[in-house]
Symmetry: C2
Subunit: 197 residues, 2 copies
């Protein structure tokens, strides 16, 4: 019913996460009917980002500069390195506001089935980084999922010989969590990790 270019726009909007055929149709028609300026800005932003955004030479996060703003910030504590899966995780940690060290961004987790091994996650570069800079503690903050745990395990085995402190984010009952509604696995972890008072 729609002409080919409009159909193609709808189809290609579906590459966005959480956008199904119905939303894609709504978005495409909205852009064409009412916000061609916004669409133009979006097309330019996509093109610019695709052409120029690469990875930080040190921490591998997404940036269009050689090094990201956190790696360039001399005020940060270079002795502590936090390993996260994605740039969004860096933001989450920064928003928590209690870490002032540096980051290393894996951009994923180990997933042999998708062809993502240690090399794709830049683990060789991580090893060099830890070896050649004054990092004293590595905090592994991969997700608390099966893949995140496996990645965490692999990294800890990799870095153990380097004689640095290695830690993993604590697992347990979230702040404000009511025991009644916390799932069994989390409770089991909280119990296992209980702290002496």
């Amino acid at each position: 019913m729609f002409s080919p270019l409009i159909k193609e726009l709808m189809e290609s909007l579906r590459c966005l996460p959480g956008v199904g055929p119905k939303s894609a149709q709504k978005m495409a028609l909205y852009l064409l009917e009412r916000d061609s300026q916004g669409a133009d800005r979006l097309a330019n932003a996509l093109r610019d980002a695709l052409d120029k955004v690469g990875r930080c030479a040190t921490c591998r996060t997404l940036t269009e500069d050689t090094e990201c703003s956190i790696c360039l910030d001399q005020a940060r504590d270079g002795t502590r390195l936090c390993i996260v899966e994605t740039p969004a995780d860096v933001i989450a940690m920064e928003n928590a506001g209690s870490f002032d060290g540096r980051y290393f961004v894996l951009l994923g987790h180990l997933s042999p089935i998708d062809g993502i091994g240690p090399e794709e996650l830049g683990l060789d570069r991580l090893e060099n980084l830890v070896r050649n800079t004054d990092v004293e503690e590595v905090i592994i903050a991969t997700n608390s999922t099966i893949e995140g745990e496996a990645t965490s395990h692999y990294i800890s085995e990799l870095l153990k010989p380097l004689n640095i402190e290695l830690s993993r984010l604590a697992q347990g009952v979230p702040m404000g969590g009511e025991l009644e509604y916390v799932d069994g696995n989390t409770l089991a972890l909280a119990l296992k990790g209980r702290k002496k008072l």
Copy 2:
């Protein structure tokens, strides 16, 4: 925290309907981390659509051709014309499958506060179309909202002198609607428009 180009991409994704700051961040990072091919396709589709999609010379719907496929279809009944607000409404009517006439797409509704008057909706062109072709019945299918009703009223006043049949989509209880859950205004309309058995 993000570099300028990534921020600009997030900002510009927010022009999409239903996309807030959180989804925009998720979308931007997803595209850059994992689907640069999709992002490239989207950028091209946006550019193409912006450059080439215009309005059908007859019915004003969105298309990159001079006339849309429905207007070009000789098999359709040229004596009946259905007036709708948007191209999505054309699709909804076509999916209902019980109308084989032609359409006229307003691309909006009367909204003086946004500077949308009869001219912006192409009502002069509508009048000419009805006057100069063999249209016998005009079905006004604007939305059942205050704006849609006002637009419907304006159009009916405009076309009354042309000596054609004018009708409006029926309002009432939707198919499968249980009275208990139908809102009062709809029930009042259904009662007002009751049919003799």
